[in-house]
């Protein structure tokens, strides 16, 4: 690739300065994407698939913005960070200011209804997200995020899903006619994010997945 690539370690060390949630909200499943995982995800999107550089990117459920900021650092043309929660968006805006990133916008919107609510059908190149896993009080929310993301993206959607749901997701992807590739298997440490996590650390297995629209089969808007 002609353009210079930010090194993985360098990206990770920058992302360590992104402030996270002060008081995570259980109902919104606000667990943060760690700098390490965020950096690995973004680096892969860039080096293996060229899905970030000069691209128009949306981050669904951006939270405090670790993926949004990292994507901007990897050379995106513009990133739209979308979240329902105003506290998250305030922290995210503060982070953007501290990082002096100017090609990012934030939007307060319910991702559940965004498929119809934004004139966004196939208007972004790449969607990145760390969706709620939909295990607490909002079962199925991960699939709603995914479906809306696929509607918005022209090329690819990068997402994290519990490995336990892989078969279900593969079935859904086949139904929707999208290609699916499990890029990596990760271990997420939800280290006492919430009070009901009684154990010191709760490791869960998570798939990092790339969904893509088969070439030439892009549905018209």
């Amino acid at each position: 690739m002609a353009h210079s690539v930010m090194k993985l370690k360098e990206l990770e060390s920058y992302l360590q300065d992104v402030d996270g949630f002060e008081k995570p909200k259980i109902l919104l499943e606000q667990y943060p994407t760690t700098p390490h995982i965020a950096a690995c995800m973004l680096h892969t999107m860039h080096t293996r698939y060229d899905d970030l550089h000069d691209k128009l990117v949306a981050d669904l459920g951006c939270g405090c913005g670790v993926l949004t900021i990292g994507a901007a650092m990897m050379g995106c043309g513009y990133v739209l960070g979308i979240d329902v929660d105003d506290t998250a968006l305030e922290i995210c805006a503060r982070n953007l200011e501290e990082f002096e990133i100017s090609n990012v916008d934030l939007l307060q919107q319910d991702v559940n209804i965004i498929g119809s609510g934004v004139r966004m059908h196939k208007v972004v190149d790449t969607v990145i997200m760390n969706p709620p896993f939909g295990t607490k009080h909002n079962q199925g929310i991960d699939m709603i995020f995914l479906q809306n993301a696929l509607g918005m993206a022209r090329t690819a959607v990068y997402s994290l899903h519990k490995t336990a749901t892989r078969e279900h997701i593969q079935k859904k992807a086949a139904e929707w006619g999208v290609d699916i590739e499990v890029v990596a298997e990760l271990r997420f440490d939800l280290a006492n994010t919430y009070k009901f996590h009684k154990k010191k650390s709760v490791d869960i297995e998570v798939d990092f997945i790339r969904f893509s629209h088969p070439r030439g089969k892009l549905k018209n808007r």
């Binding site: 128009l56 916008d105 004139r119």
Partner: protein, 124 residues
């Protein structure tokens, strides 16, 4: 809120609204911020913009002077057009104001640069 973002927003999330596009802008505070010029990115995304909505939004915020009314036919190689598009889409920032649904007049506030498109339960 940049005008590229405005170009993607509609109010058809409101029950009964069919198109809800483009949203009017009542600006209260508009700033111009420097953003790095990226012609490759612009060439890629301009075909997906609704240019008449860009022009209307630019007029609403008082920054339409000298803005081409249509996308130049050879825009990928037209530096002058790309620079004008860059400025209007990425550098104009609505910090405070309202977005207005063209069908119902419902206002969506923009505060600290972030549009709030959340609905009340009975509206959705």
């Amino acid at each position: 809120m940049k005008l590229i973002t405005h170009n993607m927003l509609t109010s058809n999330i409101i029950k009964g609204v069919t198109k809800g596009y483009p949203l009017g802008i009542i600006p209260r505070k508009v700033e111009v911020k420097d953003v790095d010029y990226n012609p490759e990115f612009l060439a890629r995304m301009i075909p997906n913009m609704d240019w008449s909505a860009v022009c209307k939004a630019a007029k609403d915020v008082g920054h339409d002077e000298g803005l081409p009314k249509e996308i130049a036919p050879n825009f990928t190689e037209n530096d002058e057009f790309l620079k004008a598009a860059h400025h209007v889409l990425l550098e104009i920032d609505v910090v405070e104001g309202d977005l207005v649904c063209p069908e119902t007049g419902r206002k969506f506030p923009v505060s600290n640069g972030v549009p709030n498109m959340l609905l009340k339960e009975e509206e959705a």
